[in-house]
């Protein structure tokens, strides 16, 4: 029996399902960072707002990277439904702490897909995710550096404005 299915699709459907889940997660991250940009604008942290606009764009880029991979492999990418975006933060420190939490959750999710792809013998998906694994190392590191800077600067007096200005160092 000629294998039309395999000729039409080069990854496993289980990988496709997990990657569609990751599309959703990247879209959720993008929307969350946009909400953070809104909070920053409204609370006078204009440089941090710029940082989060850029983050929001990058997350959308991640989403599209996966979307295109599913197209290239003959899969069925799904446009994600996004709900439950938090707009409330108690401080700029809260914003960056939440960002790190979010990035750690994304890292775990990507590692999980790598492990599943490995179990399935889906080498294409596993290799595709290499870029994401390294990207997550960088993203986590950036946010940790910003949190360290916040710690050193302190939030007393003009500290908050100094913090906002220094976030500019992490906008390329």
């Amino acid at each position: 029996m000629k294998d039309i299915a395999r000729q039409s699709m080069s990854i496993k459907v289980e990988s496709m399902d997990l990657l569609n889940g990751q599309i959703k997660m990247e879209a959720h991250a993008s929307a969350t960072y946009l909400a953070m940009a809104s909070w920053c604008e409204q609370n006078g942290f204009f440089t941090s707002a710029k940082f989060f606009y850029k983050q929001a764009e990058e997350e959308r880029g991640h989403m599209m990277k996966i979307f295109e991979f599913l197209i290239d492999t003959g899969g069925n990418p799904l446009s994600p439904e996004i709900t439950g975006i938090n707009h409330d933060y108690s401080s700029i420190v809260d914003v960056f702490e939440s960002t790190l939490e979010h990035e750690v959750a994304v890292t775990k999710s990507i590692h999980n897909i790598v492990k599943k792809a490995r179990e399935l013998g889906d080498i294409a998906t596993e290799r595709f995710l290499d870029w994401f694994v390294l990207e997550q190392v960088e993203e986590e590191n950036t946010i940790r550096d910003i949190l360290d800077m916040i710690e050193v600067t302190g939030t007393e007096g003009v500290g908050l404005q100094m913090i906002d200005n220094q976030v500019g160092n992490w906008i390329e």
Binding site: K2, R6, M9, V13, N76
Partner: protein, 108 residues
Amino acid sequence: MPMNVVYQSTYYTLYQSVKERCFYVDFGQKLVRMSLCQLLSLRHKVLSISIEDHFDGDLNKHGFEVLMLCNKEHLLVLNTLEILDLKHMVEQGFVAMGLSEEREAVTV
């Protein structure tokens, strides 16, 4: 028309036609020609149906599902047993095609 059976469930049969490089699903009421993309879309729709709702009179009063296929070209009305069987056919069909690992309850 030469077609091989890929998988047969109680009510449905999935065929592949090598000559036409496509698939056919026999829904009993009709035979529908499908590309792999359309099969993937069928899989998504069918596996997304919450069968639990069928056992809750408030969530699904009539116990039927309306399924639109192939960009609204086909419309099927299926009852609870047919949906369960179609879920099974879709899952096992992808296993038989070598695109899925054999295991219970795929979640989409």
